[in-house]
């Protein structure tokens, strides 16, 4: 199934709560084709929730997310076919081989030739020689590469990555950053959540800074990420925060 295509992604005043806990609150930003957007913030800032909302796994409690000219009410298979997700937990079956994992997901995404697509993807990841090995035998970096290929195998317009630099060595992290730059050139919309500021240096076209589920700032073309981050996060809140006493 070919997904419908879109040129930009707009998040309009989106909130999501679970019971009385607000996970994200009134987030607004836009991004467009050929751009990498960073979601930055400490743990618990709401980055993963926001990514789940963008992936259509969660529905917003308030606000709207627009994919091009459609909003999430157009939900459904055709929208999901245009979205690729690299989750924190990698979404790979450890008992299956790298090739089997990719072939399975290629089939689920209704690609014409899943086997060839899987082989191509493994070549891209530089893991063609390990195609027949179970994923459980791979290092974190190798699994990450397979997982990234899995997320990209159906050539999605929107790519969402949740903490992709976790557990990667320098070489793998650099390779990932290079791959993301290539994707940007081919016109993908990339949204990346991380708290790994050094590795993400120079990667973002824009960055959204989150804390406690709220948007603290949006910066275009951020430089010197770490000091920018520290500077923004040290700003005092204008809204007093409620002490959370769970009943």
């Amino acid at each position: 199934m070919t997904g419908f295509d879109f040129d930009d992604l707009a998040v309009e005043d989106v909130s999501r709560h679970f019971g009385r806990r607000r996970a994200v609150s009134r987030i607004t930003f836009r991004t467009t084709r050929g751009a990498v957007l960073g979601l930055l913030g400490p743990n618990g800032a709401g980055k993963s929730t926001l990514l789940a909302l963008l992936a259509t796994l969660l529905r917003p409690s308030a606000g709207r997310i627009r994919y091009g000219t459609h909003d999430t009410a157009v939900h459904g298979p055709s929208l999901r076919a245009s979205i690729g997700v690299l989750g924190h937990d990698l979404f790979l079956y450890p008992e299956l081989t790298a090739h089997e994992n990719l072939e399975f997901f290629a089939g689920l995404y209704a690609l014409a030739d899943p086997r060839a697509a899987a082989a191509d993807a493994l070549r891209q990841a530089g893991l063609a020689d390990r195609a027949g090995d179970a994923v459980s035998s791979f290092s974190r970096g190798m699994r990450q590469r397979v997982a990234l290929e899995r997320a990209l195998i159906h050539r999605p317009r929107l790519l969402l990555l949740d903490e992709p630099f976790t557990g990667l060595d320098d070489a793998s992290a650099a390779a990932l950053a290079a791959r993301l730059r290539t994707l940007r050139e081919t016109g993908a919309i990339v949204v990346l959540a991380t708290h790994d500021l050094d590795l993400a240096e120079g990667l973002f076209d824009s960055a959204v800074f989150l804390r406690d589920g709220r948007m603290v700032d949006v910066v275009d073309r951020p430089e010197a990420l770490r000091s920018t981050y520290r500077h923004i996060m040290s700003r005092a809140h204008t809204v007093p925060s409620v002490s959370r006493t769970e009943g």
Binding site: H17, G19, R20, R22, S25, G213, V239
Partner: protein, 218 residues
């Protein structure tokens, strides 16, 4: 609370107070004597048990497919009443059976089916209590499956029973639906409405509290 609540509660209380007199003065049933009078409690609570189950089932379906949390609150309150009235039914049934035929439990098809339905309601409450976030939807699914199951439970228990004939015959309902029975039924129905309304209100207050918490952050 709505305006009808307090007057209705007063009326219900009065009815509960006067019902023992009506029941005591009701004519004795020919075969079972005094013991049969427990029927005036057993039967209305069985009716309320069924009514609560239907309310829970319908509200659950509407919640599952529409997502309106009012239906969810109603379903939860109704499920608690299923457990409550079911418990009364399942206790008064054996009490009566013991006195009438000397055995506590006869695997009577109605009582057994009620027991299974009651257990589904208890499972519903356990799921809501211990299932964590998101269990409201899951419980609605359970309620739907429970409701769909009713004919299957009844038929399978019934046929299962008839293969092993019982030593004594299960009695039929009393044939004279006199004043005491209707009085009891109305009393129980009023009680049902009051409890339902009060319980739903508790959930409404909770939801309002959650909304207040959320609005502070906005």
């Amino acid at each position: 609370m709505p305006t009808w609540f307090t007057p209705a509660a007063v009326v219900c209380g009065l009815m509960f107070a006067t019902s023992p007199f009506l029941i005591a003065n009701a004519p004795y049933e020919s075969t079972m004597g005094l013991v049969q009078k427990i029927f005036y409690v057993h039967l209305p609570s069985a009716w309320m048990f069924l009514l609560a189950a239907i309310v829970c089932g319908v509200a659950s379906i509407r919640f599952l497919f529409r997502g309106d949390s009012r239906h969810d609150r109603l379903a939860w309150a109704a499920a608690e009443l299923v457990v409550l009235f079911g418990l009364v039914t399942l206790v008064t049934g054996p009490l009566w059976a013991r006195k009438a035929w000397g055995v506590w439990w006869q695997w009577d098809v109605r009582l057994t089916s009620s027991l299974i339905g009651w257990m589904v309601a208890v499972a519903y409450l356990l799921l809501r209590q211990y299932g964590g976030p998101g269990s409201d939807k899951l419980a609605a699914g359970l309620a739907l499956f429970g409701m769909a199951n009713v004919p299957f439970i009844y038929i399978s228990v019934n046929y299962w029973r008839t293969i092993h004939p019982l030593t004594s015959v299960v009695p039929t309902l009393p044939t004279s639906f006199g004043l005491p029975l209707w009085f009891s039924a109305v009393t129980f129905f009023l009680c049902f409405l009051l409890l339902l309304r009060a319980r739903v209100r508790l959930e409404e207050q909770r939801a309002r509290l959650d909304a207040l918490y959320l609005s502070v952050d906005a």
